[in-house]
């Protein structure tokens, strides 16, 4: 008895459960086998035709997709060594700025003296009181004492 065409097609397409397909193969007549062979030949012809057609019309999906994507600047790629170097430089620079200001402002340096001379007595020809400015604009008082020769000294 010939197997129904729809079952043959499902067998050809491997759509039947394994046990059913095995049982069906045992029942195939010569006519059924001829139909299967014809199906195989037809399938092969169709596949070849489609492939040759596709080869003639190459589809470039990527270029189309690329055109549709929003334009972006390429990301910067920085080598790890340079990255570390930049970070280190930044850290050292920050430390150097802090350190230099610390040393510039620390108590060891001369600060604005705000000096008021209340009394001044010298022997000899006299003395001059002047303000000496430093590079930060602070004044330091300088008492310049005109030194006398030894034999001219006399006590105040």
């Amino acid at each position: 008895m010939a197997v129904a065409d729809n079952k043959l097609i499902r067998l050809f397409d491997n759509e039947l459960p394994v046990d059913e397909a095995d049982a069906l193969r045992l029942e195939l007549s010569e006519e059924d086998n001829a139909k299967l062979a014809a199906l195989a030949e037809l399938s092969s012809s169709v596949r070849d035709a489609i492939e040759s057609e596709a080869a003639m019309h190459e589809v470039d999906l990527w270029s189309t997709l690329q055109r549709q994507l929003p334009q972006q600047a390429p990301a910067k790629v920085v080598p790890l060594r340079r990255k570390v170097l930049v970070r280190t430089t930044a850290a050292i620079s920050a430390f150097a700025v802090a350190a230099s200001l610390f040393f510039a402002l620390r108590t060891g340096t001369v600060r604005d003296s705000g000096c008021d001379v209340e009394e001044l007595e010298v022997v000899g020809s006299g003395a001059t009181v002047m303000k000496v400015a430093d590079d930060r604009g602070n004044d330091t008082t300088l008492i310049w004492f005109d030194h006398q020769e030894e034999d001219e000294w006399e006590s105040l």
Binding site: A75, K76, V78, K83, V86, R87, A90, A91, S93, A94, F95, V97, A98, L101, F102, L105, T107, G108, T109, V110, R111, D112, S113, G114, C115, D116, V117, E118, E119, L120, E121, V122, V123, A127, M130, V132, A133, D134, D135, R136, T140, T141, L142, I143, W144, F145, D146, H147, W153, E154, S155, L156
Partner: protein, 173 residues
């Protein structure tokens, strides 16, 4: 990526460094309040007296004089090109007391701390400086300076140059 990772880190680190500065700067700023002269106990003062030899021979500048470089390299000392530290005296002077220090040329310096003279919201010290030659008094001056301030005295001839005294005083307690 809108901002590079490196840029972010650079700014973070610089920002962290700058955060340190206001603390340092604020520590140096005097209180802004103006207050009248206050009577304070005499306390104690610590003074550094730098004895400097200034001459016109040579161009050396003693590295230990760096804190005074702006003053020594200024117009007042333009006749001199070489500055060397002969000695630095560290004096601790109680209120109302004096300390002697040696001045080259067989002279003697006497620094007296006469007490606090705070004004304008600033801590200030009243001091007297005398330079003696034996029993003879060559110079006597009384002055008031800010806490940590410096006063300079110069003009005494010494070894083809002059002597410069740099006196920096702080309130110790």
């Amino acid at each position: 990526m809108g901002k590079s990772v490196i840029g972010q880190w650079t700014w973070r680190l610089l920002f962290a460094g700058l955060l340190v500065l206001p603390k340092v700067a604020v520590a140096q700023i005097d209180p802004p309040k103006a207050v009248p002269v206050e009577a304070k106990p005499a306390s104690k003062a610590t003074c550094s007296v730098r004895v400097i030899h200034a001459t016109a021979n040579g161009n050396e500048f003693d590295a230990r004089l760096e804190p005074l470089r702006p003053q020594l390299k200024g117009q007042a000392f333009q006749s001199f090109s070489r500055f060397s530290l002969i000695k630095q005296h560290e004096l601790s002077i109680a209120g109302g007391a004096s300390q002697n220090f040696e001045v080259p040329g067989e002279h003697q310096g006497v620094l007296s701390y006469e007490g606090r003279a705070d004004s304008g919201g600033k801590q200030r010290l009243r001091l007297r400086l005398e330079i003696q030659d034996g029993a003879a008094k060559l110079l006597s001056t009384k002055f008031v300076i800010n806490d940590g301030g410096t006063v300079m005295q110069a003009g005494m001839k010494y070894d083809k140059g002059v002597l410069v005294l740099g006196i920096t005083c702080r309130i110790a307690s």
